[in-house]
Symmetry: C2
Subunit: 297 residues, 2 copies
């Protein structure tokens, strides 16, 4: 039993592949709430897995991707998005019949499509995306309440097994998250706007600022709190954002095009000195934000 | 002497035109530090001026724009940007010889140009822009330390009187601000990027989100903290931002064009699946932000 709380066991063995901030927090939540008899961590770095074990995120670990999850009833793949399907493919031959696989990737359409190809016939894949903090990476920053009140998107398709879908949903619910169900396409279009476009905007804004700084040398000296806040998201790992962007490029390109069009409208209004349209541009933004704030409470 | 601290008197009488958050805080700072023997507030609403007097922002007030500042040695115009030059024009015939006029507008080129035309020959105009908080408007939110450590941009031109420039600089310094001197053009190009472009981005982003929300209905339900933070600046008054935008349209249009170009580069990289360029886009943003953070301390 390895010291797991004896709660409502939902799965005998849960395997977590990639035990960083998200994987580690998942393991801690599972063990704290007694949702599994055994939590196995799988990864490439023994040092990191040992740390995860010491921190109580997992009961045991394996460096063997091919066989490490052979006993698991639920496998949660917490690798970077570009590695989810390859990891599943590598594990596939040795998974047990009836095993449910889910992931925590920030994009879903590509992953769900690729996973449907490599998931063994006797197993079930259900795509997932817990939208929980990622600023401080690593299992050192993991904690069992990371998912409390967080939105956990689950993205079934027409082919998703309904029983597996129900069990993953119950699992997300049990760790304290609020489940939102939508198609992989809806998910990707939405996060392109909510998360990926803002990252691109922050990076582009910094580049605009640097171009001007090089010309006048006066830009950065005026940049106070709000500029700092707006560009904070650019501190994230570029490699992660490369993968996410490539994995959701259609939706991101569509979002950028829409952004360029709205900016163009504003520029046209300014150039023609159309006071009413310039006012309307800011009024619309303000109204939409008020609607949004009412919706999110 | 109306209870002003007896510090280093810099001006016998200071007139503050428009006693809101900025004007009120200026008055409080002046009175707390004893920088003037008398602070006169000028405005259109007697109710607001009475409140400013009760709150200790001014010693007395006048509703008479034409004559209210006749005794003043320093006049600080704290109206919206579109009203600075018209206000000065209205006061001009009755200003006393040697009076120094400054303003606190968020844009400078147009104001400094227009002011140079309407400033009487015997008076001196020096453009200024204290970059201090504006989220909660009104004298009710004013406080004497608003300018402590804030950047206070002063924008002389070739025609600016050096003695007047020195006195406005010393005044900004005395209220605790950090003075940055640059041309009106440098100021406007810089704030276009640091402040005006981010406002336009937030408003456009909200419009992109609403377009998508109308299509899929799933966007707002995924918008968590970071989206809320990024769009917070859209709560500001649309009328203010209309005026600011029109008063700095050249620089804002140039900044938007630069933004569109950087976004286009990123879109091209995504569409051609150029991993190196996509990575470079995020790496550049991250590096620029690190440089910027080192510069601002």
């Amino acid at each position: 039993m390895s010291g797991n709380a004896s709660g409502n066991v939902m799965f005998d063995t849960i395997a977590i592949v990639g035990v960083g901030l998200i994987g580690g927090s998942l393991g801690m939540a599972v063990k704290t709430k007694g949702l599994a008899k055994r939590v196995v961590g799988i990864g490439r770095s023994e040092q990191k897995l040992m740390r995860a074990q010491i921190l109580g995120a997992i009961d045991e670990y394996s460096l063997d991707f091919e066989h490490g999850a052979a006993d698991a009833d639920l496998i949660v793949i917490c690798t970077p998005v570009s590695k989810v399907a390859p990891t599943l493919e590598c594990m596939a031959p040795n998974l047990k019949a009836g095993a449910i696989i889910t992931d925590v990737g920030s994009t879903k359409r590509e992953i769900v499509e690729d996973a449907s190809i490599v998931t063994p016939d006797a197993c079930y894949f259900v795509g997932g995306h817990p939208m929980a903090g990622t600023e401080n990476a690593g299992v050192e920053n993991a904690f069992p309440d990371l998912f409390l009140g967080a939105t956990y998107v689950i993205t079934p398709t027409q082919d998703t097994d309904l029983s597996a879908l129900g069990r993953v949903t119950a699992f997300a619910d049990a760790i304290g998250a609020i489940v939102e169900t939508m198609t992989p396409e809806q998910h990707d279009a939405s996060v392109a706007i909510i998360s990926h476009l803002p990252h691109a905007l922050a990076s582009a804004l910094l580049q605009v600022a640097e171009d001007a700084q090089r010309e006048s040398g006066k830009v950065f000296s005026l940049a106070a709190g709000s500029f700092r806040d707006l560009t904070r998201i650019s501190d994230s790992m570029p490699e992660l954002w490369r993968d996410i962007s490539l994995s959701n490029s259609d939706s991101i390109c569509a979002a950028i095009t829409s952004m360029q069009e709205h900016l163009q409208e504003f520029k046209d209004a300014l150039e023609s000195r159309d006071e009413q349209k310039v006012l309307g541009f800011f009024e619309q933004g303000r109204q939409i934000r008020q609607t949004f704030l009412r919706l999110v409470r």
